[in-house]
């Protein structure tokens, strides 16, 4: 995983955990690429990513001074409530969690972060919480198994990662807030391309009503599983 930063003062000061930016650049692919804001530092916005295709590869090939069109902050972020916050991330699902920890603390909560990955090598170095737990599939670091299984109980649960991981979160914490991944066309709510299937029937838009949902509200079985997040956890 790599972190790239860009100057975007308005976004840096207004972004909330769980919101995303939609990135486009000259000679890039036609459509923009959505990324959770990983860190907001002064006038800088940072995103964390891994090369999974043409867009992410090009982003990682950029040099200092190159220009990116950064649209955001987009979508609805996490709601911070309660005094004990549990952050659960898998693979690239780490992306919104630095801000989530920041916002949770700012809301006066105690933060426990559980991060899961395939192996120790895939673990995020920057996991940050009053209490940090690791979980690896191969047991090479921390708890052997999934982050969900490794996590203690809590009132406020915020999760991000492969959709199948979020489905497991929904089982254990129906009221958890989860940030889902979908393919996106516009990122601004006009194309209906980012459909998230709902338990009550129908779809709504990950880029507008989401990407953060109440875990039980999403019909997990109907969400595509092979998205880039899954490729990285």
């Amino acid at each position: 995983m790599f972190v790239i930063g860009m100057r975007a003062p308005e976004i840096a000061t207004s972004v909330r955990a769980g919101q995303f930016v939609n990135l486009g650049w000259e000679q890039g692919p036609l459509l923009r690429r959505p990324f959770s804001v990983y860190r907001a530092d002064g006038d800088q916005v940072e995103v964390v990513l891994k090369a999974v295709g043409v867009g992410t590869s090009q982003l990682l090939g950029m040099r200092i001074g190159d220009r990116i069109s950064c649209l955001g902050p987009l979508g609805r972020g996490f709601e911070m409530t309660g005094s004990r916050a549990l952050l659960i991330s898998g693979g690239l699902g780490v992306a919104p969690m630095l801000l989530a920890a920041r916002d949770a603390r700012a809301a006066g909560a105690q933060v426990t972060w559980v991060h899961g990955a395939r192996t120790a090598a895939d673990l995020c170095a920057e996991a940050d919480g009053d209490d940090v737990l690791w979980a690896t599939e191969d047991g090479s670091r921390g708890f052997r198994g999934t982050a969900v299984a490794a996590a203690p109980d809590a009132e406020l649960v915020l999760a991000c990662g492969p959709n199948r991981m979020l489905a497991a979160v929904a089982e254990r914490w129906p009221n958890a807030q989860v940030a889902v991944e979908t393919y996106m066309g516009c990122g601004t709510g006009v194309c209906l391309g980012c459909a998230v299937p709902l338990m009550r029937g129908g779809y709504d838009r990950a880029c507008k009503e989401g990407p953060v949902y109440r875990a039980v509200d999403v019909e997990w079985a109907a969400l595509p599983a092979h998205l880039p997040y899954a490729a990285t956890a």
């Binding site: 649209l71 601004t188 779809y203």
Partner: protein, 304 residues
Amino acid sequence: MSVDMAVDVGGLKLRGPVLAASGTFGYGTEVPLLERRALGGMVSKGIFLRAREGTPPPRIVETPSGMLNAIGLQGPGADVLVRDYAPKWATWDFPVLVNINGESPAEYGELTARLDGVPGIAGFEINISCPNVEQGGLYFGNDPRAAAAVTEAVRKRTNLPVWVKLTPMVSDIGVIARAVESAGADALCAINTLVGMSIDLNAYKPRLSFRTGGLSGPAIRPLALHLSHQAARAVRIPVIGIGGISCAEDAIEFLVAGCVAIQVGTATFVSPNAIADVHYGIASFLQSRGFGSLADLPRYLPRD
């Protein structure tokens, strides 16, 4: 010196030739950034009489200089449109046309009757070219008799401008164009998306849950330019050009080729300000060539 960009399109006076294409601008309430003074008009997301859920994800795949979409005309139905959106439109300073859909000519007619006269609705764009619905859609678009039947059904129910949106998936667009012209259309919109497919090599099946999707974006522009030009040569009513328009030069090619106006679709996903950029780009092009108004732009339109 400022340039006169106003145009008269199939019964509507527009302050500029650039419109937002159906399905790429929602109901006009979503995109915050757009500089709206540049908007000549807007066509709302395609709607059926009754609410529709749309297709399961994935609904989008990117392709070279284009994209495939299979939204399946998700929408709230006519009543909600009248209740929630039309009142907003009524307060705007540009016309909104509703992109109407149905599974039979009768259903198109019924929907028209429901929407006709509702404040905020300035006209209708008949969609007989949606590739993403099981019933209707494309079927009406590539049969001249069916296309005419739908057009008549709508024409009978309203005196508002009726535009008909054509599909590229035909062997001779002129035939369809003439058929809907005689059926009473005020203008033609060309083109809707092509049909395309993309295969997921991990699952060995189509990437889109609907299997196929509509192909849009710069990739289709040369075909769209050709077909809108062919349509313009075939009829006397105005033609609105659509397909892959991303910048002012693209738009001007359609205008030179005989279109009276153009619609911008996929480009809005890339830049929410695409429409404004195209509008002002056309104005400065005209200025740089010494034309005082859009009407002065030379056209290339040999008659058939």
